[in-house]
Symmetry: C2
Subunit: 404 residues, 2 copies
């Protein structure tokens, strides 16, 4: 029997993105090889909303929401009916799914909030949950906290892999042997792999056949690079009976400071999620909800420009890492790179601290995303172009200094 | 064994404050006795932030936060270090407790978020939790969701009661028989009763003796009426080993639309709460956190005026209800009234729907706050003065029409 103490020990947040500043650097200065590396401090643990600011319409909508007063401060728990209506229309258009605003959509405090509610609505002690490795770090933590049992599904994400993606035969096996929930992100966080049309269709069919609830995190689906195609699971022919899709404007649109996410799908699950939200945080902050009025309404060309700018950073960083012995798969969407480091003379935990102290670069440990990727680090390259490239070069220099 | 399905059935949110608009009114029009009652629609389920607007400094601080950009968008999960520092100082001054900003304080999405995190950090399957009846509705729902066992503590809140407050002998008994957590609000929601100095001291001592974790919801402690005194548990001599105090600017300060709350107390519990927040919603919305810079910094006289205006509404409504056969205790703090209705010819659930449909008045069912108060209704009288009084008169008229 897992005790609450065990659960919270497993929930360690000190290596989670953004928490680095709470770490004690200890005597890291005495471990340094060579001098400090000069350059702008770059925090790759999350995107830089100063380099890629939110569309200006967002804060205008926020002000309008604030000025609406009480009506916007106190919405129903799942969110303002009028904002749900607009958002459902725009999400329906984007995804190709038909979303009933009043029954199949909820606004949450960030897509993290949506993930918590979706898993909270489906996972209890003993429920088997299939989790991709690597995948978004909170998925595993959430399942453990809720008492579920992790069923790992390995992801082949290297460019040279013959079969990029998950092994669908493995997935079928675990669905057959009692897995009740499958949660995954596409584009995958941390690798940027986009699940193929074939994979998505097969996942949907398998879930339908074996009565598995699907929770699909599509947070980065708008930041899709040239030549790539994206398949929305909710628009498949064989939509599974129980499906929740998660999105939000925190990443590509740089609206993370508002804590806004959405989940849409099966109405009884959305109903449960609202009941849970009612005791967890009541609702996404009322005035902030109004920001969604500007979502999918960015000025003409805005998204294209944003994607192009990210693609340019991506391509340069890929060249830097791949030519320096840090193999890095090409993300098809999103702004994460997940380079693998060569064997080092120091623990990777210490190396990451040295990176911060000596080279002014924050990255996230690969072990946060699964047990099989503990020699990788994740970078969110939504940063100032030049600073990102200089910082990537410092990472390479640091690897040279510390490699075995 | 409680299943997830049982849990969510028990989490019904359709009668929760603010959710009334999702209710199907059914054929309530056919049940009406007499005509509709004219008047401004008044929603007593929550305060009216248009009648009592936030201090204007709040939105100015919000704009400053937004303009800070990335630094304010991505704070550590427990909240921005600089805002924690300021807030700790001001809360220390207000409560008389010494709060270490870096270890003993967390910013949460509303005080609801703080309650969830505090109970989530302490309650698991089988843990006995003492809950006052009546008390804030989410307390009971949270304990049930987390698998804890409710141990009811009755509250004597009527003015004519010889011993207002909880029976401390009952509390000692349940502490002796294995209760591990005691959660309660002072001022009590829904009655406005403020726990006496003697009661608070005794609760602290009992918790220390029997190693019970205390979670004290002090959300309304700033709106204290003339002649009343307030005792902060955290400033007692015998502070229990494990204590979390919850506050927030959502009510008196009308900042609910920002979803901001705080919890302070025992550092290992705050640490757990941060870990849980990391998987539930990451953090209170970054820009919104900046609003706390204006908290406890209201212009001179602002709070006094606000309290005076509420006291005037309170006194008039008390007169209306108490002189019309709806016995109502005098709240010592906060903006709730909890009148008891006489026996009616219709179910109280139907009566509350009729109130909305026929009289344009929304109130919250007393059954939300505990099983013993299902003939009462709760009103948040933080409303436009005249509208509130007119609406109270319509409630009295409706009681006349439907009473047995």
């Amino acid at each position: 029997m897992t005790t609450l103490n065990d659960k919270f020990t497993a929930l360690g947040a000190e290596n989670a993105p953004g928490q680095e500043l709470r770490q004690d650097l200890g005597e890291v200065d005495k471990m340094m090889r060579g001098e400090k590396l000069e350059g702008n401090f770059v925090d790759f643990s999350h995107g830089d909303v100063d380099a890629f600011p939110p569309p200006s319409e967002a804060v205008q909508e926020w002000m309008r929401g604030y000025e609406m007063g009480g009506k916007q401060a106190y919405t129903q728990y799942r969110g303002s009916a009028s904002i749900l209506k607009k958002t459902a229309e725009r999400l329906s258009k984007f995804t190709g799914c038909k979303i009933q605003a009043n029954q199949e959509l909820i606004i949450t405090p960030g897509s993290q909030g949506a993930l918590f509610l979706a898993l909270g609505a489906t996972v209890e002690s003993g429920v088997k949950v299939a989790i991709v490795e690597p995948d978004y770090f909170a998925n595993r933590k959430l399942v453990s906290y809720l008492g579920g049992t992790l069923v790992p599904i390995p992801l082949n994400y290297q460019d040279n892999s013959l079969k990029r993606g998950i092994d669908l035969d493995v997935l079928e096996e675990v669905f057959k042997s009692g897995t009740k929930v499958f949660v995954f992100s596409t584009p995958n966080n941390p690798t940027g792999l986009v699940y193929s049309r074939e994979a998505i269709n097969k996942i949907a069919t398998l879930a339908l056949t074996h009565d598995v609830t699907l929770i699909v995190d599509q947070l980065y689906s708008r930041l899709l690079y040239g030549g790539e195609t994206y398949t929305h699971l909710c628009a498949c022919k064989n939509v599974p009976k129980n499906l929740i899709t998660i999105m939000g404007p925190s990443k590509t649109e740089s609206l993370s400071g508002f804590r806004l996410g959405v989940a849409f799908g099966t109405s009884w699950l959305i109903e449960r999620m609202e009941r849970l939200q009612a005791i967890v945080s009541l609702r996404a902050a009322g005035y902030n909800q109004a920001v969604l009025n500007s979502w999918f309404q960015e000025p003409s060309g805005w998204m294209k420009k944003r994607i192009g700018e990210h693609e340019a950073i991506r391509d340069t960083l890929l060249k830097i890492f791949n030519s320096s012995g840090l193999p890095t798969a090409t993300p098809q969407a999103g702004s994460y790179l997940f380079p693998k480091l060569p064997p080092l003379e120091v623990d990777i935990e210490l190396f990451v601290k040295l990176l911060r102290y000596q080279a002014g670069v924050v990255v996230t440990l690969g072990s946060e995303f699964g047990p099989t990727t503990n020699q990788s680090v994740r970078l969110n390259f939504s940063q100032d172009h030049k600073s990102a490239i200089d910082a990537a070069k410092r990472i390479v220099e640091m690897v040279q200094r510390y490699k075995r």
